[in-house]
């Protein structure tokens, strides 16, 4: 599968590494050339410096024939804009978008974007952890 990821922060780099090790064809984009330092030395995918909301950049990285696009930059607005460009202009079959703000997530979900809100997910996981009691936390963390 050919996958384009926008944003090479902790999450983007981790995701790119996971997919790369699975043997997927990964291209990761970031506006900061130093961001790619987070990728492991054995990363076989390609990394491109560029603005993920610029259609010319997206064309250059071959988004038109990508199977999936993931928006994982730190900005909600950049993520939803890039995702909408990927979906509506480039017709990428699978687009997943990170949105921190739950209100914006609701809106873009209702507009047909597949979104994940770390805010909601993490809050839910933290709550779950609290409710499940200390017995399940690994030793050394208490």
């Amino acid at each position: 599968m050919k996958i384009v990821i926008m944003g090479c922060g902790r999450v983007g780099a981790e995701l790119a590494t996971l997919l790369d090790r699975e043997g997927q064809e990964v291209t990761i984009l970031d506006i900061d050339p130093d961001a790619f330092d987070q990728l492991p030395a054995d990363f076989k995918g390609s990394h491109v410096v560029g603005n993920g909301i610029d259609q010319d950049v997206l064309r250059r990285v071959g988004l038109a024939d990508a199977d999936a696009f993931v928006a994982a930059s730190p900005g909600d607005n950049r993520n939803v804009m890039a995702s909408q460009v990927a979906k509506h202009i480039f017709g990428v079959p699978r687009v997943v978008c990170r949105v921190f703000d739950p209100i914006r997530q609701d809106l873009y979900r209702s507009l047909g974007l597949e979104t994940i809100s770390p805010t909601r997910e993490v809050a839910r996981l933290l709550k779950q952890a609290l409710e499940s009691g200390p017995a399940e936390t690994p030793s050394g963390e208490g």
């Binding site: 939803v80 804009m81 460009v85 202009i89």
Partner: protein, 225 residues
């Protein structure tokens, strides 16, 4: 009219000033405290400090009753999201977005933003008019009619230089209204008026025949003979 403006930079500030002077109820949403203060000092209590893409801020600003929502920040993604929030979450009927990258115009239109204004494209259009390869200047669009008022400078190499207006094979519904010579003297032309190199020809024409009009006035001698 209640008009909301996201972004209190230079564009937002002057826009707000003008719209207030015209008697509208205006609210500017701006993140930066210093810009907020400047607007409050000069234009009064018409500014809300906050993020114009944030649901809570838009709620507090009474976005639901806005007649017009304009987003003029320096970032296209912020303008897009602010307008999409206004339109889809608060049902604002008319949204206007400033676009910095002209290539974003298509996506904004596709995503339901009613009006887009590309500042870069406007500046570019003006610069291009100064370039010899773009001698046709659109001066004004006559709203709803598909007609434009345009200006063409007759280059020295033009095959039409030295010919009379009556000899021009103009496109349909195209009228030459004024001819301005190099000294800046305007003349109302008739069919006997001589077109000279360096003249500026002001015409009314249909948008689709702009290129034809330009070609007529600017094609070099060799190509037509």
């Amino acid at each position: 009219m209640y008009i909301m403006i996201v972004g209190g930079g230079k564009v937002g500030y002057y826009l707000a000033k003008q719209l207030v002077e015209d008697g509208n109820e205006v609210l500017v949403i701006e993140k930066d405290a210093a810009k907020c203060r400047r607007i409050a000092d000069e234009l009064g209590d018409i500014v809300l400090r906050g993020d114009g893409c944030e649901g809570v801020t838009l709620e507090a600003a009474g976005t639901g009753r806005a007649d017009l929502f304009i987003s003029v920040t320096g970032d296209d993604e912020d303008n897009l999201v602010a307008c999409q929030m206004a339109k889809n979450k608060f049902s604002v009927r008319r949204t206007v977005a400033l676009i910095n990258n002209p290539k974003n115009e298509a996506i904004f239109k596709k995503l339901g933003i009613d009006t887009t204004i590309s500042s870069t494209a406007l500046v570019l259009a003006n610069i291009e008019q100064e370039l010899p390869s773009h001698p046709l200047i659109p001066l004004l669009t006559i709203k709803g009619s598909g007609l434009e008022i345009v200006e063409v400078k007759v280059p020295p190499y033009s095959a039409m230089a030295g010919k009379r207006v009556g000899e021009l094979l103009l496109p349909q519904q195209c009228l030459i209204t004024v001819v301005i010579d190099e000294e800046g003297v305007p003349r109302t032309p008739n069919s006997d008026t001589l077109i000279r190199a360096g003249d500026e020809v002001v015409a009314i024409c249909r948008r689709e025949s702009e290129d034809a009009l330009r070609a007529i006035l600017t094609t070099p001698v060799k190509e037509t003979q």
